[in-house]
Symmetry: C2
């Protein structure tokens, strides 16, 4: 009953996890998605994720772990906290939800196991500007071991974006044939505006800079 050709993608409908979804569709026969709600300000995010999954013809499951946002106040779920636009010098930006990826991936693993799936994909990246500790390769590897020990199973966590900055994520989307889809349908903006977003939040700036860098490099290569 163990499918090593099946995979569960942690999916939010953003640029990164949508790229991961199509990466998974390329390399695995059977792809499912799980999307976590935890009191995000913008419920549009989960609607968009559901639509992208539907269009891609993969099952979509929503898990409500809003308990998390009650435990640790942060600017993604609490309207009374003004979002950090820059990373504070000696700490993490207040968009950081402590332990978030650990909770997500642990629930994803429990869910995957119940389906006989032991491969999990997450779009975390060490090249991410904010340096969230739970996006680092060392953490993911440690978590993978903890999950295997907790359940006496052999999970494999895949991180196709780990060493890619945003321009390389655009490149991967292009290689996977979903450049336009990701450019026009995903939602990355902290202010909840799809595609190119508000343009001034950290997520929009990062996305746009990555896109410009990628297109510049691509055009140069075309001219050579």
């Amino acid at each position: 009953m163990k499918h090593r050709n099946a995979v569960l993608v942690c999916f939010s409908g953003g640029q990164d996890s949508t790229t991961c979804l199509f990466w998974a569709k390329k390399y695995f026969e059977k792809v499912e998605t799980v999307c976590f709600t935890y009191g995000q300000k913008h419920s549009l995010e989960t609607e968009i994720a559901g639509k992208i999954a539907d269009d891609a013809n993969v099952p979509f499951q929503l898990l409500d772990i809003s308990l998390l946002s009650q435990l640790a106040p942060n600017s993604l779920t609490d309207f009374s906290i003004k979002m950090d636009n820059e990373k504070p010098e000696n700490s993490y930006p207040n968009t950081f939800v402590p332990g978030r990826n650990m909770i997500f991936l642990t629930f994803a693993a429990v869910l995957a196991r119940s389906k006989g799936i032991f491969d999990i994909v997450t779009g975390v990246s060490e090249a991410d500007y904010s340096g969230y500790p739970d996006c680092r390769d060392t953490f993911i590897r440690s978590l993978n071991v903890s999950l295997n020990l907790a359940m006496d199973e052999q999970f494999v966590i895949h991180t196709p974006l780990m060493n890619r900055d945003k321009s390389k994520v655009w490149q991967l989307a292009d290689e996977l044939g979903v450049f336009d889809l990701i450019r026009t349908q995903t939602l990355t903006c902290y202010n909840g505006i799809p595609a190119e977003g508000c343009g001034h939040c950290p997520a929009c700036k990062l996305r746009r800079q990555g896109l410009e860098t990628y297109l510049l490099g691509k055009n140069k290569n075309l001219l050579l």
Copy 2:
């Protein structure tokens, strides 16, 4: 704001975690408790836990993670599954909730951090008859590392019962001066009956055998 003299105890009102609560009260200045509900059949369990915490004069916080029981059917939360009374030869008893301790301890760590607490106590034991993988020392140590990496903090997970069988847990309760309290007020029974319980479920058998072994040894020593 970091209290190394404060501790958060994962607390269910059973024999093991109640012993841990009084162990924590002996070794730490400030003790708080967190209790997880996840659709247990017997809500009396959380009532009893709340009463013991109140009597012990420590804060008690209840976290509802019933999502967990929707993800992975098991006989502790699903009435339609008949409980295994013996451990199946090649698997775990169906009282095993996969990933349970990992979820509990991760939420406990997020909660503890929000209070400036970085010491956590759990009553897991490797000597436990069922051999649940998420009770083993190796798993707890791996999880401790994963938590520290996830949040860039220095948590310490304490497991005072790790190498104690049930008779040695009774011994510890006696040494801590709470033998009678634990004998008469805690709930361990899978069928939801406090103190000596139903007498025939695996938890009751284990508790009684441990008690008899402990009292036998104690009486022998008294006679010497």
